[in-house]
Amino acid sequence: MEYSLRGKTIVGGRAKGMILLTTQPINFLSSVDKMTGRITDKNHELFGKFLKDSILIFPYSVGSSVGAYSIFALKSNNASPSGIICSLKTDITTASGCAIANIPLLELCKDQVIPEIETPSEGIIDGSSGFLQIKKV
């Protein structure tokens, strides 16, 4: 199945990667290994998963303001998502981190509903049109 979701472009560009979806917020400073991109918080539903080269769909980031540097560090260490979707609201930490790291970032429009996504699925972000394409691979 193929889906297309509409978003608002916060940081432009094109990105492609495997979909990594969570409904739980992420604290980029305390819950992600900056060298590998692994989610290290045992209480998080993405525990053990890697952000590297993914299209991360998550509600928003929480906690430390330094999370913006963590996003930048992930990119510098070649361990960041290829692109990010904030499904609920785009917080300042995620927006500023993606802006400086050049990671395409969309905020999902309020009327868009994320469908049941089969694993593994691939996502493509197109910042110029503001669309996320999802297709099962």
Binding site: N27, S30, P59, S64, Y69, E107
Partner: protein, 384 residues
């Protein structure tokens, strides 16, 4: 978002790369928060100073950025990894990289405050004025207690504000957002500063709005409890302000059960080999309280107290520092319990603290177990 001609020029790189990057950041957060324009800010407080948090990527970024970038508004900075006036056994690499960070911020024109409680150290602008505060406890404190206006800024959004003197006019800078639309109903008696920290941590997790009400029950709490509440709220969530205004909208209960589940998440051991106080750093009020409780006693475990340097200097003059040091405490300036490399897994099995913020980061980032106790219980259980 509308940009003036001058701002457009800045974005286009006519005033150099650092200013262009700064406007790129402001534009992205302006879009994210639906701002129509940028407004001036009077004071910036930056996080991202501790090498433990920003790592080598951050050091390289700041070193390069500081070659050209200069701050155009008064800019204070967060704690770093250690006390620059005291010996420590951190690696030479840590000290070198930490030194480069301090140098880069200094070169850009920061005030070397190395504190997460700038609101207790510097003269505050008038109520209603706009600032840009990264460091979540400080953003929550100035919004909620001192009537200043800031969003819950990130290290990089605040850096962009320091370079341009501007921030997007959105979210908590706007009156309507500062009126809470969700309330936490407190269904148990809150006694200690730890209780308030737990309330804050629970609320940050439960609320996705930018402002939350606790009703009038928090109107008369002391500085220790207020800072503890603000730090808890800032650590777990996206919320940047609390209020005592009542609201008839949605309410969420915080009772015995909610408090217990919050403790269960953060309290990961029953004992510890070091006591750490100060996250946020202690101010004069807490230093005084602590000295009254400890006078004539001695800590039975190693005890580290993290406070701001001007607070330490005042404590030396008033004799409070001597009381604490006589009780065996090591008073550390320029650093903070949370994320300090002085509290590493290699050196300690468990840390005893009354700070939920410290507990969160010690557990999740430093990988050190935490025994959470309120200050009274710490003194009762761990002094002779």
């Amino acid at each position: 978002m509308h940009l003036t001609r001058e701002e457009e020029d800045g974005l286009d790189g006519k005033n150099g790369n650092p200013i262009s990057s700064a406007y790129k950041i402001l534009l992205s957060i302006g879009k994210a928060t639906n701002a129509e324009r940028l407004i001036p800010v009077e004071w910036v407080h930056l996080s991202g100073v501790n090498y433990n948090t920003i790592g080598d990527a951050g050091v390289e970024f700041l070193t390069k950025y500081s070659e050209e970038a200069r701050f155009v508004v008064p800019t204070t900075i967060n704690p770093m990894g250690y006390d620059s006036n005291k010996q420590n056994n951190l690696s030479s690499n840590f000290q070198k990289q930490q030194g480069r960070i301090a140098k880069a911020y200094g070169k850009m024109g920061s005030i070397p405050s190395f504190s997460c409680i700038p609101y207790e150290l510097f003269e505050l602008p008038e109520r209603g004025h706009n600032v840009s505060f990264a460091e979540s406890n400080a953003a929550v404190m100035v919004n909620s207690v001192f009537g200043l206006r800031t969003n819950k800024e990130s290290s990089l959004s605040a850096l962009a504000s320091a370079i341009t003197g501007k921030a997007p006019y959105s979210d908590l800078r706007i009156d309507s957002t500062r009126n809470p639309k969700i309330r936490i109903k407190i269904d148990k008696e809150l006694k200690t500063e730890l209780d308030y920290g737990l309330l804050g941590y629970f609320s940050g997790k439960s609320v996705k709005e930018s402002c939350v009400s606790f009703g009038s029950s928090i109107s008369n709490i002391d500085m220790y409890k207020t800072k503890s509440l603000a730090a808890g709220l800032g650590t777990s969530g996206a919320c940047g302000m609390f209020s005592n205004k009542d609201t008839h909208d949605e309410t969420i209960s915080f009772g015995k059960e909610e408090q217990k589940s919050t403790v269960d998440e953060l309290n990961t051991t029953d004992s510890g080999d070091v006591i750490a106080l100060g996250s946020p750093q202690l101010g004069m009020y807490e230093m005084e309280q602590l000295s009254k409780m400890i006078v004539g006693k001695k800590f039975s475990k190693k005890c580290m107290i993290f406070c701001a340097r001007p607070v330490y200097e005042k404590s030396c003059k008033s004799g409070i520092a001597k009381i604490l040091e006589k009780a065996g405490a090591n008073i550390i300036c320029d650093a903070c319990t949370c994320l300090s490399p002085l509290l590493s897994r290699e050196e300690y099995d468990g840390v005893i603290t009354n700070s939920v913020k410290a507990a969160h980061y010690l557990n999740k980032s430093n990988g050190v177990s935490v025994c959470l106790k309120d200050l009274k219980s710490i003194i009762r259980d761990h002094t002779k």
